[in-house]
Amino acid sequence: MKLAYAIPAAGIAALTSAYASAETITIATVNNNDMVIMQELSDRFEEEHPDIELDWVVLEENVLRQRVTNDIATEGGQFDVMTIGTYEAPMWGERGWLEPLDDLPEDYQVDDLIKPVRDGLSHDGVLQALPFYAESSMMYYRTDLFEEHGIEMPDQPTWSEVRDWAEQLHDPDNDLAGICLRGKPGWGENMAFVSTLVNTFGGRWFDEDWNPELNSEEWQTAIEFYVELLGEYGPPGASSNGFNENQALFSSGKCAMWVDATSAAGRIYNPDESSVADDLGFAPAPVAETPKGSHWLWSWALAIPATSESKEAAKTFITWATSQEYVELVGEEEGWTSVPPGTRESTYANEKYQEAAPFADFVLNAIREADPTDSTLEPNPYLGVQFVGIPEFQSIGTQVGQQIAAALTGDRSVEDALNAVQRSVERDMERAGYLD
């Protein structure tokens, strides 16, 4: 039992030293590289602001989302700063759950934030959260393999070209897949990619009266194309690969092409984490019928829940963590490829960043051109490129994602899968009151 006494004693000592007189703000955040760097550098913030103490709650993305949603919907008030995305910010802002960020200090330079990102985090033109980093999607490919096969990458690849290349490059005997794409079901996993594919094939989730269009011709064509492409030229077990799995496959040289988040660029371009860093090519996300909505827009952002009792201190922190000075601090301390990308025009104007990150222009263009207010060929009633900004979408998106994964594994035909989800989404939308 001696051990059992020793540990509480150490714990009490640690506790009493941690709770000094300063105002403590509790920050809920996701566990990814950028956020870990923020946590490490936050010592600087605490030095500059001795009256503010930071308390961190770091969680995996899905757990975090559930956790903060519960808390904000029930006004639990456990957090002073929450990490949320472009999906949540406008919806929560509309419900008055977030502190509107309309009186930011002048030196914060709000206009420096890249416009689509700012729009994606606003409700009625008022920012609801400050972007910590933002991403779009783009294509990564292996320049060595493309050269070997005499393929030249055009400025804007099309999906039919991509299929031809995948066919040429696919070499399962040597553990090389022609293309890697997301297959793991989930609204933030396969559906993020599939939605952009449907967009560029000319489809949309809902018409202007909220009638689902999931078994439309465009969806059929897009999903059949996806199932054939990934089924024939994808890695084995593609239906269980999400972002992380594909990143591991691509960076260990097992994929010739990969279409996914721009935020992966820094890591697969880093020779410590990737064996293909020297042969890495970048291209915009491929298009089909229309360039609209062919690449997504996502941002992790810091918001202050309306229930927080330390709003001023929280605001001081989030303006620090999303400022230009912070970007420079990361650049100097951690190296320029590690700076949080996609949020500020000034980051991309910085020569040091351009030099360190040859993919910078692709990322900036992709983000600038992603328009969450106009993401499909035909007009739609929703906000979002790779998602539909309504609370029901998490469940709808995941449900559709599961059926598409079933079509990918061959458990059911594309037609059956799409007809089934069309019926169930119609029912969901009726029940939620969107349809008569």
Partner: protein, 272 residues
């Protein structure tokens, strides 16, 4: 035992194989904690250069003593509380049963069949209104309720196996109910109570659903500490393994020290 061993050596071999299979994931976790992140995702290998890199990083990123303190207080307090409630109720059911006792016991167990997420919202709202969110008290109460059915059931089976004559003899000698319980029942069933308590401590220690949902930072136990190292992107296996090793170390040592009581308790009354 030695006669059995010489006659059937395969029993021993089989026991070792099963033990190794059960132990292997834990061993792998401990090994992974000493690898670099790159080694951790490389092809599985037993040979690598051990490093403390992950431990250093894990230490830098989260406050281990705080989480460990929370885990220890919450699991001990909830176990004591559960025993305090369960001993009288198990006593009543074992020695003074009514015709509804069996049904009550079954009903108690049936509450364990409900997935916890089904009552997440009510419990969350109750905790919020009572000011128990992110407090050790709140989590202690939830864990007590969570383990109570199992604790009552186990104690009930232990108590039932006690010869009633001894208690009756005590009563004849003039012992009141309180003395009967404290002087006869408790000492006689100590192995059972000890193993029940140990099981309850382990269950509370490992519980992750409520601890993740009801705590933020102040009362977060070690399960929340482990969860903070899981990540949807980037490499994290070595750090996660290092954090997990540190989180299970106290309970593993505790379990190892109390092994004798546990085994004695669990097999108590099994051979009759």
């Amino acid at each position: 035992m030695s006669a059995v061993q010489t006659k059937r050596p395969w029993v021993g071999v089989l026991a070792w194989v099963i033990a190794l299979i059960i132990f292997f994931p834990i061993l792998w976790m401990v090994l992974t904690g000493f690898k670099t992140e790159a080694d951790a995702i490389a092809s599985p290998s037993l040979f690598f250069t051990p490093t403390l890199e992950s431990y250093v990083e894990v230490q830098g990123r989260a406050d281990y003593p705080k989480h460990a303190f929370n885990s220890i207080t919450i699991s001990l307090a909830s176990t004591l509380l559960a025993l305090l409630i369960a001993i009288p109720s198990a006593y009543a059911m074992a020695f003074l049963p009514t015709k509804r006792t069996k049904a009550t016991l079954l009903w108690m167990l049936s509450t364990k069949m409900l997935p916890p997420v089904g009552v997440l919202m009510p419990i969350y709202l109750l905790s919020r209104d009572l000011g128990l969110l992110d407090t050790r008290t709140g989590l202690t109460i939830v864990y007590t309720m969570m383990n109570l059915p199992i604790v009552v059931w186990m104690l009930y089976t232990f108590f039932k196996d006690l010869p009633r004559d001894i208690l009756e003899a005590g009563r004849m000698d003039g012992a009141n109910t309180f003395q009967e319980v404290t002087l006869l029942l408790l000492p006689l069933s100590m192995p059972g109570i000890a193993s029940t308590g140990l099981l309850s401590i382990i269950l509370s220690w490992n519980e992750a659903f409520w601890s993740l949902n009801l705590t933020a930072s102040k009362a977060a136990p070690l399960t929340a500490y482990i969860a903070s190292f899981s990540s949807p992107e980037g490499l994290f296996w070595a750090k996660l393994s290092a954090a997990s090793t540190m989180a299970i170390a106290p309970i593993l040592i505790f379990g190892w020290m109390t092994q004798k009581q546990m085994v004695r308790g669990l097999t108590f009354g099994a051979v009759k």
